[in-house]
Amino acid sequence: MIAQNIGFWIIATVMIFAALRVVTTNNVVHAALWLVVVLAGAAAQYILLAAEFVAVTQVLVYIGAVMVLFLFGTMLTRAKIGTESDLNNSYKKLGIPVALVMLVAMGVALVSSFGDEKLPQTATVVSTQEISDQIFGPYLLPFWALSFVLLAAVVGAIVLARKD
């Protein structure tokens, strides 16, 4: 077992524990902070895979922006200190099968597409330049499509927020 594998299992255990705490904790802000641990763990896994650009993007987008906005929103509206009793609702039981189906679907997709394939032991770091060449070359059309989706989201947010 090489060092990266040991690292993977330690980080994965922490991530699973944190993910369980996200749904079992009795406080919204605590749940959000456990989610930060999960997302940071994902970033650490990317680093283990020598995908540093993806890892940094994960930190910038999810921890630096999404989670901050999430906490900002909850603190502005309803975050109480201490335990809250009304966090669970009737959809709780529906969530478990949905999560299981997702797990099976993703597991099957991973195994069927990669099988026993292994990453090369001496993985080379893909440089940022290569990533940008890919984005602005063969993947230009999906990239544009994504930016239209984001533009639509921004316009939608403005429409929802405007009073007049």
């Binding site: 902070l33 910038l60 630096g64 989670m67 906005l69 200190i81 770091v125």
Partner: protein, 350 residues
């Protein structure tokens, strides 16, 4: 550091890196507090500042640290104790993570990160998290308001900061901070290579936007709405005392130092001198003594930039919340976008 320490075993290198990181964060922070906060502010206000502890009060900081460490560690009764205690540490850790990518000499770096600039911007946004939960967990309305103001401000000014850096990245053609230093010191302007090509000249607007944005990111006046003492007592720091306040305090000035270092790397040529002065053509030719002179050059540039930050801090009154947001979204961001457009057009043309 690799070249210098090739014979040192890995654990020894790691230990040296940790020690180097501590020095690189704490030494600038202490110097900034003494030189600017204690002395410069006093002189600007026609007073002497601390004079008793040590010659010219130079030991004042140690006295202050001793005082803070002796204080009782108070957690408010209704606060969320665990998160309350965690918050200042998140802020300080993000500063330590930030210094990791800053190069101090041809071989004197902590890690040669290919996406250095991007990493620095990402990690600097983590401190917002610490400030937000500090404000929330204090169970105090002033603290919560301060935390929310801080988050709103830091998010708003992170954008112009990222966009301003983009111009530098386009010009240098790399996100590696070490390569940005080399690109500036080997470059030339209009065929003259006497002072290299510091990007402060060709990216002047980027530099100004970046400096304004870090002034706001550091919540220094005139952007100190989050800790506005006449409105919010002390914002998100209100309930903190003793060594937890000390951690926030160190974090504030250490981050000022590290941001100034990053600004000097991006715009002033970092640790380097123009390579033509000594007949070097690439980073491999750079003499070994630059590993010792480099950090000093870097420190000088950092002090110069922090001087400007502090000068503005002590000179201007606080902006109002709506002015502050308008300034970022309607002023800085459009100018920064225009700067990126012009830079990329010129990059393609030349």
């Amino acid at each position: 550091m690799i070249g210098l320490l090739a014979e040192v075993p890995y654990w020894g290198q790691s230990l040296l890196r940790v020690l180097g990181g501590l020095v690189a964060v704490l030494l600038p922070a202490g110097t900034i507090v003494y030189v600017f906060l204690f002395k410069m502010m006093s002189f600007m206000q026609s007073r002497l500042g601390p004079m008793e502890a040590g010659p010219y009060g130079s030991m004042q900081l140690f006295a202050e640290v001793g005082k803070w460490l002796q204080k009782e560690d108070i957690v408010p009764d209704r606060a969320d104790a665990r998160i309350f205690k965690m918050a200042p540490i998140i802020v300080l850790v993000s500063t330590f993570l930030l210094v990791v990518v800053v190069p101090f000499g041809p071989d004197a770096w902590f890690t040669d990160f290919e996406t250095g600039v991007f990493y620095a911007l990402a990690v600097s946004s983590v401190s917002v998290l610490g400030i937000l939960i500090a404000g929330w967990s204090s169970a105090n309305k002033y603290s919560l308001l301060g935390g929310l103001r801080a988050a709103g401000q830091l998010i708003a000014y992170e954008l112009p900061m990222v966009l301003a850096v983009m111009g530098v990245v386009i010009q240098a053609g790399t996100m590696n901070l070490q390569k940005i230093v080399v690109a500036q010191n080997t470059g030339s302007m209009f065929g003259i290579d006497a002072i290299g090509h510091p990007y402060v000249i060709s990216q002047f607007f980027g530099f100004i936007i970046f400096m304004i944005a870090i002034q706001a990111e550091l919540t220094q006046a005139p952007f100190d709405m989050p800790i506005a003492e006449s409105e919010l007592v002390s914002g998100y720091m209100t309930e903190y005392s003793g060594f937890r306040f000390l951690i926030f305090f160190i974090g504030e000035f250490a981050t000022a130092g590290v941001f100034a270092m990053i600004a000097s790397v991006l715009f002033l040529g970092g640790w380097g001198v123009p390579f033509t002065w000594f007949g070097w053509t690439s980073i491999d030719d750079v003499a070994n003594w630059m590993n010792f002179a480099g950090p000093l050059i870097m420190f000088t540039k950092m002090m110069l930039l922090v001087f400007f930050i502090m000068w503005i801090r002590f000179s201007y009154p606080r902006l109002r919340e709506d002015q502050l947001q308008k300034f970022a979204w309607k002023g800085l961001i459009p100018v920064a976008l225009l700067n990126i457009m012009v830079t990329s057009i010129l990059k393609v043309v030349f």
